[in-house]
């Protein structure tokens, strides 16, 4: 399976991090401090919003379905409710409110009612905002959720449930699609 470390690793590029070491050992978001969690913590409309945010990050393309088809909003509901500790939950929920507030301030409309290019424009603003931890959390979850989903593994990446052999001498061209890392320990 894609575990936490692999998910973080897969997102290094997404977060503009140059090395594995920046995420290995960094308590970025996935905390070591356990705390009580309640489920579910997101409303249906928040799940719908997150689906659209994730779709903006990972849209449907001719090659593969997008985040919505992979039900990334539902995935975020599950992870924020039961995987996040209380501290991360609070950061996420407060951040989601801030997110909606900032959209409204900028466009006098909700994220769901602005155009696709405005959605993208808004998220690009958050990409530049190093204080927007909540956005980094949403983006991590979007990438993790998509590339560990059945849609992401089978349609965006290459899926080899039973490889049957190990070949350590494969030659590839630039831009080759990666094999989904679906092993476990």
């Amino acid at each position: 399976m894609m575990n936490r470390r692999q998910a973080l690793q897969a997102m290094m590029g997404a977060l503009g991090l140059a090395s594995t070491a920046q995420v290995f050992g960094a308590r970025v978001l996935f905390g070591d401090v356990p705390a009580h969690t309640i489920r579910p913590v997101l409303t249906d409309s928040e799940v719908k919003l997150l689906d659209e945010v994730a779709e903006t990050i990972l849209p449907e393309t001719p090659d593969s379905p997008g985040a919505k088809a992979a039900k990334v909003g539902e995935f975020m509901q599950e992870m924020v409710s039961a995987y996040y500790d209380l501290l991360d939950q609070q950061i996420f929920l407060n951040g989601l409110a801030t997110f909606q507030q900032r959209v409204t301030e900028r466009y006098s409309a909700s994220f769901l009612s602005v155009s696709a290019s405005q959605r993208k424009e808004f998220l690009l603003t958050l990409e530049q905002d190093s204080d927007a931890t909540y956005y980094q959390m949403i983006k991590q979850l979007a990438v993790w959720g998509y590339f560990s989903s059945e849609v992401g593994v089978k349609q965006a990446l290459r899926f080899a449930p039973i490889p049957g052999r190990y070949d350590g001498q494969v030659k590839i061209e630039p831009g080759t699609t990666a094999w989904a890392n679906i092993g476990g320990v």
Binding site: M2, N3, M11, G13, G168, Q169, K171
Partner: protein, 572 residues
């Protein structure tokens, strides 16, 4: 069959039904071997396992589950992590494996200093989830204590164990390459798995720049070809869930079926061994007292020889709890060594680096092992300012996703690049020796007991200055090799983890020549109680730096061979 004293509760026909030639306590990696060897030599053998039964294949419920079919994509919940802070630190815990691990509150213990005790209570024990790396010890390892003035000397040498390494390797099925290195003697190998391009590059960089240092594919108990009706490995890398193809060695897939095939095996799960019964007249153990894990009823079983393979700390607990007028401090504990000299490997130091280029090189399949950089410190002629050695586990991989700084961070192009094969990175994990210190110890609580009426274990263990110095060298030596290979962004890391988390706890009933300083002799036989043998990690006199299970297997097979010869000579 010799007459043994009977329990007050079990007499006559009842006692006969509780009588076997041999009893094995524990069904993990060493207990499974004891059971197989004893059964194959014709002894009726009772295996007592404190946990539930786990049948090969049919009791591997997650073996075919994809991560989207499991809760939280396989991760453990915040609630679970809160309730299981110890277990949650284990690298192998996930929704796919958690049913094989003891939860923190299921079996509490006292930590006088932080110690992460990771346990698997079921038929097969931790052999289901083990990491399967099986480098042999070398000639030097068995001499290192005496040469360094550490602890006591091993009562055996490499040549005593070498044929038994071969013996267990031939049955277990070990993939590996014959590398001809003195630090990790070659064994009986199935074909090796391949190294990938970066690993081959690193091997060449190390071997051409650092005489005496090598990088090889790890010898691993995964079957690179079908072997004795098991396997082959299908390169799914889902081993710790239990392999439905029998692609790796476990008690469940290999030794216990072989034992059962003889018709001599009786397996009794849910059997918590309370203590070993000692008869002062014969100076022998006569049997064991067992608490049924479910009903809490106590019963007794009798045998002519007893193998204790309950895993290091539970073996120690049982022996310490086996008190009598003759042995007030625990069975066979004339020396006072029982419970002392606890070791775990020193796994705190690791490094990562980025590997530039090699973009045309990739791999296929999920190899269930990595590469191994054998010990080069304090071995043969090398001398450092600390004692003992370390090796590295090394692995290189390519990231999933090839988004570079400056690329659009979201949208169609981003998504496309996230599907591409990304840059290489490399990992080096130090695996260091932990010296045997008298004050690293376990004892039994005088006031608290567990759910089965056993005293709680109190664990008092730490890494000391020697291990801290080794961490520095692991970082320095690792960095110099990565740098020489041309890798960048070299990042050392110290997890600061407590002992226990390497899951190589050992040493608390050590072997030695002198009954005044050790519990067991050179055949893992109790100096003071000749029909009791201890062949799990507790027997270890030093820890070296290899993953230890193969050595436990070899010691076990050798001890059974000796025990049965002694039995046939009527010495037991």
């Amino acid at each position: 069959m010799s007459k043994t004293p009977q329990s007050a509760a079990i007499v006559g026909a009842g006692a006969d039904s509780h009588r076997y030639d041999a009893i094995v306590i524990g069904s993990g990696i060493s207990g499974g071997w004891a059971a197989k060897e004893l059964c194959e030599k014709g002894l009726s053998t009772l295996v007592l396992e404190r946990g539930r039964d786990v049948k090969h294949v049919q009791d591997y419920p997650t073996a075919h589950k994809e991560n989207w079919e499991m809760p939280l994509r396989g991760e453990m919940s915040a609630e679970f992590r809160r309730e299981n802070p110890i277990l949650s630190r284990c690298y192998a815990i996930s929704q796919a494996t958690e049913h094989f691990f003891v939860k923190d509150n299921e079996h509490p213990y006292q930590q006088d200093k932080p110690f992460d005790w990771i346990r698997g209570y079921q038929v097969g024990g931790k052999s289901l989830m083990w990491a399967r790396w099986v480098q042999r010890w070398n000639e030097f390892d068995f001499e290192s204590n005496v040469k360094n003035g550490v602890g006591i000397d091993w009562p055996i040498r490499y040549e005593d164990l070498a044929p038994w390494y071969s013996y267990v390797e031939k049955f277990a099925g070990i993939s590996g390459n014959r590398d001809g290195l003195a630090a990790i003697p070659d064994g009986e190998f199935l074909p090796p798995m391949e190294m990938n391009a970066v690993e081959r590059h690193f091997k060449s960089a190390i071997e051409s720049n650092f005489p005496g240092r090598h990088l090889v594919i790890s010898r691993t108990a995964n079957l690179s070809q079908a072997h004795l009706g098991r396997g082959p490995c299908l390169y799914r890398a889902r081993c710790a869930r239990g392999c439905p193809y029998g692609g790796y060695f476990s008690s469940n897939s290999a030794t216990l079926p072989a034992a059962a095939a003889t018709g001599n095996l009786t397996m009794r799960p849910h059997s918590v061994v309370h203590s070993i019964i000692y008869d002062p007249k014969t100076e022998r153990a006569t049997g064991v007292r067992v608490v049924d894990a479910e009903t809490l009823e106590m019963t007794e079983y009798f045998a002519r020889i007893i193998f204790v393979n309950a895993s290091t700390l539970n073996t120690t607990l049982i022996l310490k709890n086996s008190t009598s007028d003759r042995f007030p401090n625990g069975l066979g504990n004339d020396s006072g060594a029982l419970g002392h000299y606890l070791m775990d490997h020193n796994y705190r130091a690791s490094l990562t680096a980025d590997v530039p280029g090699m973009e045309e090189d990739y791999y296929f399949g999920r190899r269930p092992t990595g590469t191994y950089l054998p010990r080069f410190r304090n071995i043969f002629d090398d001398k450092q300012d600390y004692v003992g050695g370390f090796s590295y586990s090394v692995g290189a991989q390519r990231q999933v996703g090839n988004v570079q700084p400056g690329d659009t961070p979201l949208g169609a192009e981003f998504k496309d690049k996230m599907t591409h094969v990304g840059p290489w990175s490399i990992y080096m994990g130090g695996m260091g020796e932990h010296l045997p210190y008298y004050d690293n110890k376990v004892s039994l609580s005088k006031t608290r007991t567990d759910a089965w009426g056993m005293p709680l274990l109190e664990i008092d263990c730490e890494y000391k200055d020697n291990e801290d110095r080794m961490v520095k060298d692991i970082h320095q030596s690792g960095a110099e090799m990565l740098e020489r290979a041309g890798y960048t962004n070299i990042q050392p890391r110290n997890t600061q983890q407590a002992p226990g988390l390497a899951i190589h706890e050992m040493g608390t009933a050590r072997m030695g020549r002198d009954p005044k300083t050790s519990v067991l002799n050179g055949y893992n036989q109790m100096h003071a109680v000749k029909n009791v043998f201890v062949t799990d990690g507790s027997a270890m006199t030093s820890s070296a730096c290899q993953n230890p299970s193969l050595t436990y297997m070899a010691l076990t097979a050798r001890a059974v061979d000796y025990a049965v010869r002694e039995l046939n000579k009527r010495n037991l």
